[in-house]
């Protein structure tokens, strides 16, 4: 895979896109948020310092999911009234992308999934059931969250978002779904919880004393 190379319009540092479908990245040096256009990179914002974070995952962490190796190329950090969580953007070795969420060290992998007739945020309530891909999902919690920051490559521009409503749905089997209401059209992610050890993660952060 070719890795398109360009320079940061702000500081001139080299910008490498590792995933060809990435739309947005953050300059590692000056923390400018850069959005890819047809011709060049445009600085659209600046990442405020991310709060100290305790996820053991970082950009460049590698792992394995369903026999496909992946590398972490970006992330979104969300906050809600009970804390925060990370959605790590994964580039799989088959060229697709996925998300690895780390919410207080509970790990889950999800994929963006196309679905018709997704409910509007106002129509959803806890306990409601939906069926996607022959699997029944039950709404467990509706979380108003706040977008806190970004890092690395993302598949969509995500610099101007502030508040997001997430609807989490669970199943009896460890599968889950998330409805993301950050855009006008709701987006559906289907995924499953996964044990830390099963991800076979490499290049993790280290913690003092551990």
């Amino acid at each position: 895979m070719t890795q398109p190379v360009s320079n940061c319009p702000n500081c001139g540092a080299k910008i490498v896109f590792r995933w060809s479908s990435s739309v947005q990245t953050v300059c590692e040096y000056c923390k400018s948020i850069l959005v890819r256009t047809d011709v060049d990179l445009k600085k659209v914002g600046q990442v405020a310092d991310l709060p100290p974070d305790s996820s053991p995952i970082q950009v460049n962490t590698e792992g394995l999911y369903r026999n496909k190796s992946f590398v972490v190329i970006g992330r979104i950090l969300y906050e809600y009234d009970q804390g925060g969580w990370n959605e790590w953007h994964l580039m799989m070795n088959d060229g697709t992308s996925a998300w690895l969420s780390d919410a207080q060290n509970e790990y889950a992998v999800s994929l963006s999934t196309k679905a018709q007739n997704l409910p509007a945020a106002s129509q959803v309530h806890v306990g409601q059931q939906f069926t996607w891909n022959n699997q029944c999902y039950t709404v467990s919690v509706i979380t108003p969250a706040h977008y806190r920051g970004v890092e690395g490559e993302l598949p969509f521009p995500y610099w101007d978002k502030t508040n997001v409503t997430f609807v989490d749905l669970r199943t009896e089997t460890g599968k889950f779904a998330t409805l993301d209401y950050s855009d006008a059209e709701p987006a559906l992610y289907l995924g499953e919880f996964i044990e830390f050890d099963d991800l076979k993660l490499k290049n993790l952060r280290t913690f003092e004393g551990w």
């Binding site: 709060p51 305790s54 053991p56 207080q104 060290n105 669970r170």
Partner: protein, 441 residues
């Protein structure tokens, strides 16, 4: 690239944070690398906002009892199921059930890669608890979780009495949650309902000794009192296996019995009817029978005595004598048969027949010496003697069957008692419960 590009700096390694309580100045350590929402000052009992750099005071609570002290100290590291965990938080919670207050302790454990777990302790009983990733399915009073049935044990209103250390959620003293436990020993499935949110956790019973080993604690763990809701019972788990084993052995025993019975020689060797008349029975009443041969290998000899007694008895002193060696087997047999009618109705006692089996009689030429004693009220009687070679004794099977049955019954009874004690503490005290031992047979 411009000359002014600064070198890429790696973010600092996360480390435990040392802070001071804004109220009393005591040192406060944050061990969960920024995951804590609240932290409690150990010296002045302030609940502080761990997300606030100034540690704003959220709640101050009074310590009602002075003896609340974690059995595992905060900051202790232990290995549970192969993973290292630090104890970072501690809380005491209590519930009132029928006027009695039950208090238990919860230890929050943290590993920066694996996240949070809990240990709970109640009267020396421990549980290792993690959050559920699947939803349980409900069916009447029981819950199905990952294909196993959990019976409803108890629903109670849990109050947070005391907190220490840090928590990744907003913790407050005095907070109430509805806690429901479903058990499938050694596991317990619990739901905790706070406001709108329901969280599910799954725990597995642990012994104090295991906790003491995991955290290398000094001394010995407190003795476990009574039987806990999800305490595994060796006898209960064994009951089904014991009865399965019993069934197999009983079938084998039956097959063995049938086999031996089928192949038993049952060879008649001697048969004779004798008459006894009091008028003739003068002097020496004993006599010897005609001789008979016992062939083949040493084997059993059955002596069957029958007499048409009717509310009388006769008693025969036997000696089976080997004509070649003089070896003798002495035995006495009684034939008596009584019947009558009383206030309870008609009754009978005894039979007009008696059977005895003599084991391992070697081959040879034999005869019997017989000395009859007869009921004094009986003037005369006849009696018949039949000797059979190679009869298979059945009594031994009865004994073997009892030897199998008694331990199975004892274990079932112990399991039943254990389950009774377990469920007596539940919302469903044992009236309608079955221990699973009766219906297994």
């Amino acid at each position: 690239m411009s000359a002014g590009t600064p070198p890429l700096s790696t973010p600092p390694k996360p480390q435990a944070k040392g802070l001071n309580c804004p109220k009393c100045g005591a040192a406060i350590t944050l061990r969960s690398f920024g995951q804590a929402e609240t932290v409690v000052c150990g010296s002045c009992r302030c609940i502080l906002d761990a997300k606030d750099p100034n540690l704003a005071i959220l709640q101050q609570f009074e310590l009602k009892t002075s003896d609340v002290k974690p059995l595992i100290p905060l900051g202790a590291r232990g290995k549970l199921r192969g993973t290292d965990y630090d104890v970072i938080g501690f809380q005491r919670r209590s519930a009132k059930v029928e006027g009695v207050t039950y208090a238990w302790h919860e230890y929050l454990l943290f590993n920066p890669y694996k996240g949070f777990r809990y240990l709970s302790e109640y009267n020396g009983h421990w549980n290792d608890i993690g959050m559920c990733k699947q939803l349980p399915v409900f069916d009447g009073g029981s819950a199905n979780y990952l294909g196993e049935f959990y019976k409803h044990f108890q629903t109670s209103d849990a109050n947070t009495d005391f907190v220490l250390g840090e928590f990744p959620w907003q913790v407050r003293v005095g907070e109430h949650a509805v806690v429901t436990d479903y058990v499938h020993p050694p596991r317990v499935l619990s739901s905790e309902k706070l406001d709108q949110e329901v969280t599910w956790s799954i725990g597995e019973y642990m012994y104090g000794k295991e906790i003491w080993e995991a955290f290398r604690l000094p001394g010995t763990p407190p003795e476990a009192e009574g039987i806990y809701e999800n305490q595994p019972s060796a006898v209960t788990t064994n009951v089904k296996e014991i009865w399965a084993a019993f069934a197999i052995f009983a079938i084998l025993l039956f097959a063995l019995m049938m086999g031996f019975e089928m192949f038993a020689r049952k060879e008649p060797v001697f048969e004779e009817t004798y008459h006894w008349d009091r008028a003739e029975a003068k002097g020496e009443p004993s006599f010897v029978t005609d001789g008979f041969d016992l062939n083949g290998r040493p084997s059993t000899v059955q002596v069957k005595t029958s007499a048409p007694v009717d509310n009388h008895w006769i008693y025969l002193n036997y000696a089976l004598i080997n004509d070649d060696t003089g070896e003798a087997w002495d035995f006495g047999r009684e034939v008596s048969y009584y019947h009558g009618y009383d206030s309870d109705g008609s009754w009978t006692e005894g039979k007009q027949e008696d059977t005895v089996i003599i084991p391992s009689v070697p081959p040879g030429h034999y005869y019997m010496r017989i000395e009859p004693e007869v009921d004094p009220s009986l003037p005369s009687t006849s009696y018949r003697i039949r000797v059979t070679r190679g009869v298979h004794p059945m009594g031994i099977y009865g004994l073997a069957f009892l030897a199998l049955l008694i331990p199975a019954l004892l274990i079932s009874w112990r399991a039943y008692s254990f389950e009774r004690s377990r469920w007596s503490e539940s919302d469903h005290p044992p009236i309608q419960i079955s221990s699973g031992s009766e219906d297994d047979d």
